[in-house]
Symmetry: C2
């Protein structure tokens, strides 16, 4: 059983299901996830989104520009730091956030009721180790 392949399958399947769910509200799965993240914090910096979703600055900029154009978020330069932007949900997106939170909580509950707390903890530790492994891989070695 190849762990990398299984992680990729899980990710593909999750993205496809999320896309399908989000489409009903005219969103992409990624937009839905970002709305959930911002909504759970009320206000975030763009760099928080980069860190949370493990995406590059350029990718985050494109995503957020599209969401701004669709009146889902507003972006405002932080007083005293021209390089950072505060990102907030619009009232329209606030309403979507409630819906999205229910969808994500349902999945989370399905996992925690199927598996023991110890199993869930193992799952998290192994995913974190896998992330670290691929992070270490990335930096130094060109084969």
């Amino acid at each position: 059983m190849n762990y990398g392949k299984l992680v990729k399958q899980a990710c593909n399947q999750m993205n496809r299901a999320m896309d399908e769910y989000a489409r009903a509200s005219g969103l992409t799965g990624t937009q839905m996830s970002i709305i959930d993240f911002i909504g759970s914090k009320s206000v975030v910096l763009q760099r928080d989104i980069e860190a949370e979703f493990n995406i590059q600055r350029s990718t985050a900029s494109v995503l957020l520009q599209r969401m701004e154009a669709r009146a889902l978020v507003t972006r405002q330069t932080v007083a005293g730091d021209a390089r950072q932007k505060e990102v907030r949900l619009t009232p329209k997106a606030e309403r979507l956030h409630e819906m999205v939170a229910v969808y994500i909580a349902k999945q989370q509950n399905a996992m925690t009721s199927e598996f023991t707390p110890a199993e869930c903890a193992t799952f998290v530790r192994m995913l974190q180790y896998f992330i670290q492994l691929n992070h270490d891989e990335q930096a130094p070695s060109e084969p």
Copy 2:
């Protein structure tokens, strides 16, 4: 700890590390994974690739057309079933396969030496359940 978010982070980080590793040979990470899959079987049908990577037929077709154009694979219609194609590695890709197999085995070994067999089994079961969960989600419900 949101499992979906963690799975996505793991996938993003793995893809980024794979892309970087593959780039040294002029490949993308996905091409590298497909070469590994075909190389481990000697010959596969396109539908095997779709199933293995959980991707749509159209996505697989585009991927394989590009790999054929780069002389990494050959595709040949199956005798007696015009809709199916056999996919094989070229000698050039056979040499890449050896390299790729080492990279993937190294990651796999890192996981199995860090965690117990029981923990690894839990990890697999939970990823499989998560895949199933998102598969069930997909079909019936439009919110």
